[in-house]
Symmetry: C2
Subunit: 201 residues, 2 copies
């Protein structure tokens, strides 16, 4: 901008909005203007909701999820199967699996993957917490729902090693063709895995 | 979602973020998680910036811009040419023209366009304010920078009628090929206008 067109408070709001994932500098400007126009209906409630989140959100001491309660809503849900733990890299993966709604299990959030190049070792992840949860008993199966990346698979192998001798069944997500996916667009690795793991029709 | 995975405060934050232009339900979830993770660096300052905007932002009583000062930064800038007024539909257009930085003029925000079908008449727009600004004297030229839509052009004609007899020159933005635009992708109306308004090379 060649010259200031608005007070520093508005510029600051735009700059901060531009850091929100999904918004860039241009859309942050549009978002700021929309928020200012809908001051009572949107800007004020959103500001209050954010202040409340700052105040109340904490990391669950059991599983690593973020919630306003500790233990979190998932961990303290009595209807969930306590014998199955789904291990995920990140809270966003936990939320994605919950949206799928396929399993009524509990979770364990690692907080990342092993990545020697980035200096992330086992002590930087919530792996010790997982081992002690399993060692405490009551867990029959660990589902490793880590990303199908090199780092994810390395982490899965490391965790499997750590859990050896604790008598827990360790499984991982199936590889295959995504539901609704077209073969033509899939990579060779996925197609090979889907062929190998073919099931009777 | 089949079951609650987080406290109502987080759900409410996601719902409100989903109403921000540029964010949908899916990206609002991602944004909420990112904000929660960057609590100190982003969520807290953003919440404070929004609260400050709620508190301080007002509509400029002179031109209709939004700012934390009234008259706004543009209206109270002494280095601006007071003889030229650029008439725009919306504050976002004012900001867009300011970003272009081509003219050091002042503005007048109409707050929309005439649209009989939507029940928007002259009294719903800031047209009377424009007429009295011009009638007060000191304005030599009115640049109608309204959108090149039917409503925009109707509004431009109406304003020109209202300003008749006040001895002010009324101009409008040029039609033509956008800078960097490819002819092949332009509509017939634009091409015809660009041909008609051709200039000596």
């Amino acid at each position: 901008m060649t010259q200031r067109i608005a007070g520093p408070e508005i510029e600051r709001l735009i700059q901060l909005l531009a850091k929100v994932p999904g918004l860039g500098p241009r859309s942050a400007r549009r978002a700021a203007l929309h928020l200012i126009k809908k001051k009572e209906q949107l800007l004020q409630p959103l500001s209050a909701a954010m202040a409340e989140a700052v105040d109340k959100v904490r990391v669950c001491s059991v599983c690593g999820n973020v919630d306003t309660a500790d233990p979190c809503t998932v961990c303290s849900d009595p209807r969930r199967d306590t014998a199955t733990l789904i291990v995920v890299e990140d809270v966003s993966d936990l939320w994605a699996l919950e949206r799928a709604g396929a399993m009524n299990a509990r979770f364990h959030v690692l907080g990342g993957t092993l990545s020697p190049l980035d200096g992330i070792g086992p002590d930087d992840l919530n792996i010790a917490g997982l081992v002690s949860r399993v060692a405490a008993g009551g867990v029959a199966e660990i589902i490793l729902a880590v990303n199908a990346t090199v780092e994810g698979q390395t982490t899965a192998h490391y965790i499997t090693d750590q859990l050896g001798g604790l008598g827990v069944k360790v499984t991982r997500l199936a590889h295959g063709v995504p539901v609704g996916g077209e073969l033509d667009y899939l990579d060779e690795g996925t197609l090979a895995a889907a062929l190998k793991a073919r099931t009777v029709f």
